[in-house]
């Protein structure tokens, strides 16, 4: 049992840090430190392309698809250094973390050739259309319908329905979605996984303003929206399997990078507390110590998860990670406001726009909801981790 990375990995870390810092102090210094996902979209698309041009976009992918064939440890290190250097989040994170890995795992050779190099090059931005107004926690109850129209070589999918919480759909080129393609099917059966170009008449995108005033999410309306017959991944009716395989990619590599962002937030709280004297309050000191402990435990939980080599076993650290970080960060937001006092409740901007800490307080309420609410996480932990019986469904 060891805590750190190998010497070779530490060399790789230096290489990453040097390159990233060089970019952030030169051509892309204007986007350094941006934390809002919606800020400067055009420059950030250029940044995606810049990463791609230097083969730093999808380093874990095979070289022939634009990657470097990097090891898991190297990917984790890159994510960590990326955040440490103050580089803003990837606007194509769905493309590189979900679409790409799904195509790599389940796509045809033709799909790989068509999509992977462009995703790696930052030229194709993806968003994800899974949730619907009536398919949230119960994701398998999607109602969006898809049908094949036409004959022979001219067949195409025609899709009707509504998706919601489609992050960054307004700046994306393609949407990944699951649609019900078997008439009368229910639940996870009869769903198909499709990729669809966004720029078409049948797709309308409306922003959803969030509690912090920002609009990162969208409603996506599909009215006879179309894509070619070969735009599906996997077989017809196997969409659920693909989507679930895809959700499994959502964690792992990015965890330590994400934590570097949390580190910055906690450090900002610590600085604010020293500045305004809150650091002398014994209760605040206890809460900051708890936050510090929680953050460190997240790091070592992630390292345990990433060190796991026996994937046949249920990994407790992996199963509990989502609720752990989400709850921690929500508490951090509350701590931030406790430290700031009323100064945190006003902004010196003309618009309804917030600095990092008040924004953290507002934004972190989403953390315990998206990607599986804390309540759903507890169900998963209880059922998969502890072997407890499933909750009986109300519609069976």
């Amino acid at each position: 049992m060891k805590l750190g990375f190998s010497a070779a990995d530490e060399l790789f870390r230096q290489e990453c840090a040097e390159w990233l810092n060089a970019q952030m102090s030169d051509e892309f210094r204007d986007i350094k430190g941006i934390t809002k996902l919606t800020a400067s979209p055009e420059r950030r698309k250029e940044w995606e392309q810049h990463l791609g041009a230097h083969k730093w976009s999808c380093i874990g992918w095979p070289e022939k698809w634009g990657g470097r064939g990097a090891t898991l440890a190297q990917q984790v290190i890159f994510a960590e250094e990326y955040a440490r250097a103050g580089v803003p989040g990837r606007v194509n994170h769905i493309g590189i973390e979900l679409a790409g890995p799904t195509i790599l795992a389940f796509g045809t050779d033709e799909q790989k050739r068509r999509f992977l190099p462009d995703i790696a090059a930052g030229k194709t931005i993806f968003c994800q259309g899974f949730s619907e107004p009536n398919a949230g926690s119960d994701l398998a109850s999607v109602r969006t319908k898809g049908r094949l129209e036409g004959f022979g070589g001219n067949q195409e999918w025609v899709v009707n329905g509504q998706k919601i919480w489609t992050s960054l759909a307004h700046i994306s080129d393609w949407i990944l979605l699951i649609a019900r393609t078997e008439e009368g099917s229910k639940g996870p059966k009869g769903l198909t996984f499709l990729m669809m170009p966004i720029d078409q008449e049948g797709i309308e995108i409306r922003g959803i303003t969030q509690i912090n005033g920002d609009a990162e999410f969208n409603e996506t309306f599909l009215t006879d929206a179309r894509c070619p017959a070969d735009s599906l991944i996997g077989a017809i009716g196997e969409g659920w399997k693909i989507a679930m395989g895809l959700l499994a990619f959502e964690r792992g590599v990015s965890t330590l990078g994400q934590q570097m962002g949390f580190r910055n937030e906690l450090d900002e709280i610590i600085d604010a507390a020293k500045e305004n004297g809150a650091a002398n309050d014994p209760q605040i000191r206890q809460r900051i110590a708890r936050a510090e402990i929680g953050l460190r435990l997240m790091r070592y939980g992630a390292l345990r998860m990433l060190s796991q080599t026996d994937h046949s076993k249920i990994d407790g650290a992996a199963l509990t990670y989502k609720i752990q970080w989400a709850s921690w960060r929500r508490n951090l937001g509350e701590l931030a406001m406790e430290v700031l006092g009323q100064a945190g409740e006003v902004t010196n901007k003309a618009e309804y726009e917030w600095d990092t800490l008040p924004n953290l307080f507002l934004y972190s309420r989403a953390d315990t909801i998206y990607g599986g609410t804390n309540q759903i996480q507890r169900n998963l932990i209880a059922e998969r981790g502890l072997g407890l019986p499933r909750e009986p469904r109300g519609d069976k």
Partner: protein, 352 residues
């Protein structure tokens, strides 16, 4: 990334798990509780037959080598059964202090008999100890298994000594203790002559770091047992025509236990590893592990009683053994607020 047990560590874990599950049974523990809180046969078997009592003490000091990670593995497995053994005071605190701070004669004379279990040592920490040359006055009201000790390691914040329990000026009073698996004794020193450990600060640091980690590991094992036993009960108990483990109010509480336990596991092995590797993080990690794992254990033990209903409140059920041990661990060697205050000082600086 190798933050996972090696094959050797997994073997130690399996050996220790089998040993404690098989031998540290409820029946035997309860017999020990009626006496001085030590299952003598278990103690002898652990120290002499199993060969794991010297783990964490260097081989040239008479130990079995290896480090705190391996020691934590053993403490975790002992904690899982609330084993009635004087490991904390004797093998962890006292032996670590002597191994780190004693001269070669002290190590040679004392460690073999402590590690073999023949001699039980108790650990007395008194921050306000008064010294007059080698004469010590002070003591501690809560010395784990102090009533069974024939030798004490006595420390204050800048000194460490060895004192025989039967030396003049030493008064030992065994106390009826809530956690009967680790009863306390009051140890009073009035001008008792101490034999100094040469490297006091090394002795204190080693003893406390090992003590924090061992208590945290014990807490982790205990918490995991509380969860495992409650899960088993929830699958067997039927109310309203359903296994009670199928109710969300019930299963979410079990899930919360698991979430805390997984963090406690990271905390314990992070801290153990950090000390073993001499990492800069060690100082913070040991406080994090002690406070977090102790709170986790207490929460899980309390939930165990609640989730068992009436049976969990009876003397007959083992839930109270865990609950009482958990409470004791929370306070032993500094409570959670104290450990977090140490971390706050590292992170924020001292209050001004």
């Amino acid at each position: 990334m190798e933050f996972a047990f090696t094959d050797e560590q997994r073997m130690i874990q399996e050996t220790a798990r089998a040993f404690f599950t098989e031998n540290a049974t409820s029946k035997r523990t309860r017999l020990a509780m009626a006496g001085d809180g030590i299952d003598r046969a278990l103690w002898t078997a652990f120290c002499q037959d199993l060969g794991l009592s010297g783990i964490g003490i260097a081989e040239n000091a008479g130990g079995a080598g290896l480090g705190l990670v391996e020691m934590a593995i053993i403490a975790e497995m002992a904690g899982a059964q609330v084993a009635a053994l004087p490991m904390l005071g004797s093998l962890v605190l006292s032996a670590q202090a002597i191994a780190a701070g004693g001269n070669s004669a002290q190590k040679r004379d004392l460690l073999p008999s402590i590690l073999s279990g023949a001699r039980i040592a108790g650990y007395v920490h008194d921050a306000e100890l008064r010294t007059d040359g080698e004469l010590l006055t002070g003591g501690c009201g809560f010395v784990a298994h102090g009533g069974s000790a024939s030798l004490f390691v006595v420390t204050c914040n800048d000194g460490a000594w060895i004192i025989r329990a039967d030396a003049p000026g030493v008064t030992v009073t065994p106390l009826t203790t809530m956690d009967q698996t680790r009863p306390y004794a009051r140890v009073l020193l009035s001008g008792a002559r101490g034999e100094p450990l040469a490297e006091a600060s090394a002795a204190i640091t080693a003893a406390h770091r090992a003590g924090f980690v061992a208590l945290a590991a014990e807490a982790l094992g205990g918490a995991q047992s509380c969860l495992d036993r409650t899960v088993a009960y929830s699958l067997q108990r039927v109310q309203f025509g359903r296994q009670i483990g199928s109710f969300q109010a019930y299963k979410h509480r079990l899930a919360d236990m698991m979430i805390e336990i997984e963090q406690a596991r990271s905390a314990v092995y992070w801290a153990a590893c950090a000390v073993d590797e001499g990492s800069d993080e060690a100082a913070l990690a040991v406080h994090a592990a002690k406070s977090f794992a102790a709170d986790t254990f207490f929460r899980c033990a309390g939930d165990m009683i609640q989730l068992h209903g009436g049976i969990g409140f009876t003397w007959e059920h083992d839930a109270h053994l865990f609950f009482k041990r958990a409470r004791a661990i929370q306070t032993a060697l500094g409570n959670g607020a104290w450990h977090r205050a140490q971390i706050a000082t590292m992170v924020l600086g001292a209050t001004v």
